[in-house]
Symmetry: C2
Subunit: 478 residues, 2 copies
C-alpha cells in the first residue's frame, strides 16, 4: 500500500456501528464474518481468489493517527472512549483465508475473520474492496489465458484502468492467473512482473515515413526490435518495411527482427498473410503480437479462424473486466458470542440462494485419484475428514442427489493467516502464488473451465453443517 | 496522489520511444497531442470531463528518483544520456484543457499537450488513465443524478471499486456530477465530501432481535437515527419496530426518526407502503433511502412506478460504471515540428470515424440567446470567433447540412493549464467544480440528456480546419 494512510478508507457505517458496539459494551463480543460471493462473473464455472497479500498489509498497518481522530471528533457523534479506543487500536482477531490463486466457487467462505465484533466491522470495507477487485481481475485473466491455449497474453490496460491502483493491482492479479507480463512499468519496478512494449503509432508518425521510423527504432534496439506495422497499411507497407529493416539494418549486424505488432484491422486475415510474408523472408522466428479490444471471446474466435498469433495484448477488457465489472463478494455475520458461547447466526431470505450458511466454517476440497477436483464441502470448522474412509457427498438443496466416494484426497482450503492479530502466515512470493494457481487450475475439469455453459462445480455441506442450517431455518420459520 | 511515487506508472513503450527520440536527437521537437474519445458510454448523448486536478498534481510532481533510474538502467536498453535526462527531468510543455465538470463530446480535444515530443510521450499513460477513469465515473454519475429527478443520490460503492484509488477518485468524480455524498469516510477526510451511513444487517443480527438493535442505535444516535428495516421483514417487523423506537425512545427525548433504509425486495411496493405507515405514525419527515444494485435505469423505473424514495444509495453500478466500464480516451499526435515549423499530422483510417483531425486546435462552444448549447466547433487554435457576426455551422461529413446562426454567445473550452511547464491555472475547489458542472449541464437540451436515443450534439469543424483536413486526406490518398 506504499505507506499510504488509508485507515479512513471504510464505509462510514463501520464507524457508526463500531461506536454503537463500544457504547453498548458489545465491542469485545467475538464474532465470525465470512467473505463469500454468490455468482460467478460472466456465467463462468469458476473464479480465482486474489488480493490476500494486500489484505495482510492493510491489517498489519491499520492505525488511527491524530488527524483521523480529530476528523472523527469533528463529527460530534462519536463517544470519547471510542475515539480513545481507536487511537490505541490493535488488530487482535484471527483471520483464515484461502491461498491466492485458488479457484473459488459461490457460497463458500474464501476469507473468515473471527474476533471482537468491533474489529471485524472496522475492517470490512477494505477486505471486500481488496478481494473483490483482485479476484475480479484474476478471474477474468484466467479466462483469457485459458482461451489463448498456450499463446502468451500480456496485460496492456493501464490507460483504461479505474485509477492507479487498478492498473497496478490489476496487473498483479492478472499475473497470478498466468499473464506473461504487463505494459505497466511500475508493476515491473515494484513487483518484478516483466514490463513490455515498444512503440505507439505516434512514434511512426513523428518520422517523415514509416521506413525511416522503423530504421530509427532498429538502430536503437537491434537486439529487441519489435515493429508496429499497421500505421498506414499493414500488408502493403508495414510488413514490407519491416522486412526491409531486417535486410538493411539488422542483417548487417547479424540480428533478427523479434516481432511485429498489429493493432487494427481483420486480425485473422492479416496475421495469416503476415506470417506467410515473414516466413518467406526467412523470419520464421519473428513473433506476431496483436492487440485491439481483445477478450477471451475474441481470442477464441481468432484462434478458431486460424489466426497466426503468438502473443495477445489485452487491455481495457481485462483491466476493467468489462463484460462483468463487478465481483460481488460480501461480508456476512455467521456466528456471534452469546453468553460467552459462539452461536451460529443465519440470515434467511425469501431467495433461497441468499440464505447464508451459519457457523464458523472450514472448506475442504476433494480430489480424485488423478488429482482432479471433485467437490468442495463446507464443514463446521472443527470437523475433520478421514480420507481413509468413504465420504458421502450430497447436494444441500436436492438431498437425494448423493455420491459416495471411496478413493480421494482432501485438503482444507482455509488456512490460518492471523492468530490473535499476529501474522502466522508466510506470504508466498508472486512467482509461488502464480505456480500455485497453475497447479490448482489444472485440477479443474475442462467442463468447469469452458466459457459456454460450464458445469456447475459442487459446493456441498457436511451432514453436521447441513443439519445445523436446517435447524436454524426451522427455528426462524416458527 | 498522496506523495506516492508513481513516476514509473507509464506504459513501457513510452520509455522505449522516449529513449529512441533522445538517441535520434528528435527529443526536443515540439509536438501536439490531443486527448479525445470516440464514443459515449451507454450510447448516451454526453460525457463529463473529470480528473484534471490529479493530472496537474501528477505533472507538477513528476520526478525520476534514484531507484527508478537504477531500475531502468538494469534493463540495459536505455542510453546513458537518456537516463541522465530523466534524472534531471523537468516538465516544460504547455497544457490546455477543458474545466472539470464540462459536458464533452466525441472527437473534440478535451486536453492538449504541446511541447517536446519526449515529454508528451512520457506523460501519455498517466494523463489517459486519470482522465479515462474520472470521466467515466463522472459521466455515469451525471446520468444517475439526472434520472433521480432531484432526489438525492449517495455513492455507496467502495467495497466493489477497482482498488483504493477507484473508490476515492470515483467518489470525487461522482461528487462533481452532483452526487450528494459517499459512504467512503476517506473521501470526507481528504476532500470534505460528506460521508454518510448508519448500519449494516450484521449490526441488527448481532443483537437478540431487531427491536433491541434499533433501540440500541437510537440510544446512541438520537439526533441522527436512520434504521435499516429489511433484515427480517420490512413491513411486518422493520417499520413497526422503527415506529416503536420513535414512540419509546425518541419521543421521550423530543427527537424524530431521521430515516429508514431498505436494501432488498420490491422497492416500489415496499416504499409506497412504508411511506403510508410512517405518515400514519406522524413521521412525515422521516426520509426513505433505498439501495440494492441500483443504476439510472432502475431509478427511472422506480420513479415511474411511484416509489416513495427520498435518497438513492448507488453502489457497484456507479463506482465500476458497470454497464460500460471503459472510457475510451486516446492520446493522438496532431502536429509536429518539421524544420522548426509546426506541421499538422493526420492519421487516416478506412473507418472514417477513426481518421483524426489534424493540427493544434481550440474548441468553441456556441450558446443560443437562452444560454442553451447549440454546437461545439473545433478550430485552428489561433482562430477567433467574433460573436457580433453571423456564424455558419456545417456538418463536417455532410457539408450540405448548414445553419447560419445570428444571435449567439461563444466561449473557448480549452484553457491554458501549464505554460512552458509552469502551472498558470488556479485549480478551483471541488465545490466550484461541482457548481460549474451544474451550470454547464443545464445548458444541454433535454434531447441530448435523455437516456434513450439521445440527440447527437453537433461537433463541427471551422471552415479553415475542415479545409486543412481535406487537404491532408487528399495528400495522403495520392
Amino acid at each position: 500500500m506504499d505507506d499510504r494512510k488509508l485507515t479512513m478508507l471504510m464505509d462510514f457505517y463501520e464507524l457508526t456501528m463500531a461506536n454503537g458496539y463500544y457504547v453498548d459494551k458489545k465491542d469485545k463480543e467475538i464474532a465470525v464474518f465470512d467473505v463469500f460471493f454468490r455468482s460467478i462473473p460472466d456465467k463462468g464455472g469458476y473464479a480465482i481468489f486474489a488480493g490476500l497479500e494486500q489484505v495482510i498489509e492493510y491489517l498489519q498497518n491499520l492505525k488511527f493517527g491524530k488527524d483521523e481522530i480529530e476528523f472523527l471528533e469533528s463529527k460530534k457523534i462519536f463517544d470519547k472512549g471510542f475515539l480513545n479506543y481507536l487511537s490505541n487500536f490493535e488488530f487482535t482477531a484471527d483471520v483464515y483465508a484461502m491461498r491466492e490463486g485458488t479457484p473459488i466457487f459461490p457460497h463458500e467462505p474464501i476469507l473468515v475473520v473471527k474476533g471482537p465484533i468491533i474489529e471485524c466491522q472496522l475492517v470490512e470495507t477494505m477486505i471486500l474492496l481488496t478481494i473483490n477487485h483482485q479476484s475480479l481481475i484474476a478471474t477474468k485473466a484466467a479466462r483469457i489465458v485459458h482461451a489463448a491455449k498456450g499463446r502468451s497474453v500480456i496485460e496492456f490496460g493501464a490507460r483504461r484502468a479505474h485509477g492507479y491502483d487498478a492498473s497496478i493491482y490489476g496487473a498483479r492479479a492478472a499475473y497470478i492467473s498466468g499473464v506473461l507480463g504487463t505494459s505497466n512499468t511500475y508493476v515491473d519496478f515494484k513487483y518484478s512482473i516483466p514490463a513490455l512494449g515498444t512503440m505507439a503509432h505516434s512514434y511512426i508518425q513523428s518520422y517523415e515515413d514509416e521506413y525511416t521510423a522503423f530504421k530509427a527504432y532498429a538502430d536503437v534496439y537491434p537486439d529487441s526490435c519489435v515493429l508496429l506495422v499497421d500505421t498506414y497499411n499493414t500488408l502493403k507497407q508495414g510488413i514490407p518495411n519491416a522486412i526491409k529493416v531486417q535486410k538493411e539494418v539488422l542483417d548487417p549486424l547479424g540480428k533478427k527482427l523479434k516481432g511485429i505488432r498489429l493493432d487494427s484491422g481483420d486480425l485473422a486475415y492479416l496475421t495469416i498473410q503476415a506470417r506467410k510474408m515473414l516466413d518467406e523472408a526467412g523470419l520464421e522466428d519473428c513473433k506476431i503480437t496483436v492487440s485491439n479490444s481483445l477478450d477471451e471471446y475474441l481470442i477464441k474466435e481468432l484462434i478458431s479462424q486460424g489466426a497466426q498469433i503468438d502473443t495477445f495484448g489485452v487491455g481495457e477488457r481485462l483491466v476493467t473486466a468489462r463484460s462483468e465489472a463487478v465481483f460481488g463478494g460480501v461480508f456476512k455475520l455467521s456466528a456471534i458470542e452469546v453468553n460467552k458461547k459462539l452461536t451460529p447466526k443465519i440470515k434467511i431470505s425469501e431467495n433461497v440462494q441468499k440464505t447464508t450458511t451459519p457457523g464458523f466454517k472450514q472448506v475442504y476440497r476433494f480430489y480424485d485419484e488423478n488429482c482432479m477436483a471433485i467437490a468442495d464441502v463446507m464443514t463446521l470448522f472443527e470437523e475433520e475428514i478421514d480420507a481413509s474412509k468413504p465420504y458421502l457427498l450430497f447436494d444441500p438443496d436436492y438431498v437425494w442427489k448423493k455420491k459416495m466416494i471411496e478413493t480421494y484426497n482432501v485438503k482444507p482450503l482455509l488456512i490460518p493467516i492471523f492468530k490473535k492479530g499476529k501474522l502466522v502466515y508466510e506470504t508466498p512470493s508472486l512467482e509461488e502464488i502464480r505456480a500455485y494457481h497453475k497447479q490448482e487450475f489444472n485440477t479443474l475439469w475442462p467442463a468447469v473451465i469452458r466459457l459456454e455453459n460450464p458445469h456447475e462445480y459442487y459446493v456441498d455441506l457436511s451432514e453436521k453443517l447441513w443439519t445445523l442450517k436446517q435447524k436454524l431455518i426451522k427455528k426462524y420459520k416458527r
